[in-house]
Amino acid sequence: MKSSAFSGGVHPQDFKQFTASLAVESCPLPEELVLPLVMHIGAPATPCVEVGSRVKKGQLIAAPKGFVSAGVHASTSGEIRAIEPRMHVNGSRMQAMVLVPDGEDAWADGLEGAGPNELTGDDIRDRIRAAGIVGLGGAAFPTAVKLSPPEAKRINTLIINGVECEPFLTADHRLMLEEGERVLDGIEILRCLLGVDRAILGIEDNKPDAIAHMDKLCRKSVVEVKALPVRYPQGAEKQLIFAACGRTVPSGGLPMDVGVVVQNVGTAAAVSDAIRKGRPLVERICTVSGPGLVRPANLRIPIGAPLSHLVKVCGGLRGRTTKILAGGPMMGMAQAGLEASATKGTSGLLIFDETAAQLRPEGPCIRCGRCVSACPMRISPTTIAAYSRLDMIDAAEQNNAMDCIECGCCSYICPAGLPLVQSLRYARGAIAARRRRV
């Protein structure tokens, strides 16, 4: 089947050469792990162990609260030292559980896997929920929720996101190369669970080795590996669905409205672990990279590892550090320091030195229209930004500000260096606040 190209998009330099050829290595345990109660979209988890209690790796230490939520599991064995506000990668202090490892890294008892046909769909879904799995691509939406579409929505296609369109990041790339079997197993579990016979694994064609490898693995299954031409933001859900199977998710709608569920390759691998081995989500692969780092690497990190620890493992900082990012450079969050810790959604830690972080000084909009043609959601960022600046929230809403996915294409391409994404986010915040009030 031919792949469709979504409109808009940009081609930033990918910088993947730092880590693309480096095998995933294990990250040694830090002195303490900080596990925020919010590592997902939804209600915060509730602590279910006391301060001072000893926990084993994989033990539930904070239970999900409500349907859209996810539990937190101890990512190693040790002692819960405190439950207190700690710096979160989102920049604010949030309630977190501080776990001091005992060095044994002992798994909790009773974590048992299941064979291919032993479980019913509901069992699998419950296990995924109990494993605290969230979307590992970055958005961290609870996976079990995504896998429970309402009856009315017929799902007929599963799309697996192996695109990794963010520059620098190579975590998914390495995962597919090194643990393709696990990914494929996860895809099969998800496919059976959703009861669909069509699964597409989308990979951008700047990873030919991963495409070849997965293609070979998938030959015996119904999973179709689809090479997609490189373009950012291919990995954005709506754009990926369009690119992979030509369907258009309606504005304001969800993938399930067109019969699609999208999951990240990392999520698929985590699902495989949860079902086959009974292991909850306690680790992930994180690309620690950037010109400001001595030894960039792909690390298998325990969830909750402090960013400073990751930097230390990678040989420390080099040169004058100017910017620290959690996530990719297009959508990741800038950090004020290395105080925060990696969460389930932290796909990368990037350290920029002065060669990379110099943003161009802001100038006036020259109406070149590049943001309009680059916008994958086909809205007019410069128009909305102008309204946003003057607090003309009505006008911003009429210009479809709420369709923005904050992919960053507009700011990237803007020759005047305008913070268009920030303006749009501001407008969206104001619109959302007003809608809540009404």
Binding site: G91, S92, A334, Q335, A336, L359, R389, D391, P419, Q422, S423, R425, Y426, G429
Partner: protein, 285 residues
């Protein structure tokens, strides 16, 4: 001559009859009080009352949804006139003004990071809780000044919002706009304020601000009853009978300010020469 008069007269008569018929056919009911109410409003359309503009407020008044005293920029005078039109008893609102409870401009307060982006406090606050080390201090990017319908807020060269007590009408727009809640509504008669908004402990405050409250309790001891220390932050008790003035020069970090003596450093607003209670007596523009 006669024909001219006759012609014009006839034409006029015809037009008048047509208009009269139309007026009857297309008559639209309007409450004459609505017009009268709009007349007495300040006309700033600031939205402080929570309705779209002064016209919206007038409608809400007539529908009984709003109170006569809801117009804070208009103050007592408007409330009385509105009450007169509506034929109800006026409840005079306690006049209030907004005050920025911070003096930590770029010189006096430390920054956490170098901010690049929109010159807007709300946008900056969304990035790691704002560029200032202090969790409660003024970010100085001027969101409040932008929303103020009365031009009562100025930004100093060093990035601090200062509100003119003369121009402020108490509409609370800035209070709602400030992402750090550093602007407070205070009674107009109060002239002394503790200009700090950080609940951190003294040692922490000292680290990031030269002029923040360190909760040393000296003010509470000097002017007993006029101050209370609330979670490591001194506050003037505006209800208290005791005068807070005595403690002003005693504050070791100079974060208590007597507004009759002038505005925080860097402000170009002229210090009030007459006592502020006299505002009501001052001729209205």
């Amino acid at each position: 001559m006669l024909s001219a008069i006759l012609t014009l007269g006839l034409m006029g008569l015809l037009a008048a009859v047509a208009l009269g018929l139309a007026a009857r056919k297309f008559a639209v009911e309007t409450d004459p009080r609505e017009l009268a109410l709009v007349e007495v409003m300040p006309g700033a359309n600031c939205g402080a009352c929570g309705y779209p503009g002064c016209g919206g407020f007038a409608k809400a008044l007539l529908e009984g949804k709003a109170m006569a005293s809801d117009c804070s920029p208009g103050g007592k005078e408007v409330a009385e006139r509105v009450a007169h039109i509506l034929g109800v008893e006026a409840v005079a609102p306690e006049p209030e003004v907004a005050v920025v409870l911070c003096q930590g401009d770029n010189q006096k307060a430390r920054v956490k990071y170098l901010y690049q982006g929109l010159r807007d406090c709300v946008a900056a606050q969304a990035l790691a809780q704002g560029p200032k080390e202090c969790p409660g201090g003024c970010l100085g990017l001027g969101t409040c000044a932008r929303v103020c319908p009365f031009g009562a807020i100025e930004m100093t060269a060093e990035g601090l919002a200062v509100i003119s007590r003369r121009k402020c009408t108490g509409c609370r727009k800035c209070v709602g706009a400030c992402p750090r809640k550093v602007i407070a509504m205070t009674p107009l008669h109060a002239e002394v304020h503790v200009l700090c908004n950080s609940h951190d402990k003294g040692a922490a405050v000292r680290k990031y601000c030269d002029i923040g409250c360190i909760a040393c309790h000296i003010c509470a001891k000097t002017s007993p009853g006029a101050y209370r220390i609330d979670n490591f932050l001194a506050r003037v008790d505006y209800e208290a009978r005791q005068s807070p003035l005595e403690a002003v020069p005693k504050c070791p970090t100079r974060c208590i300010r007597d507004f009759t003596q002038g505005y925080p450093e860097g402000s170009r607003f002229a210090p009030p020469v007459v006592p502020l209670h006299a505002k009501d007596a001052a001729p209205s523009p």
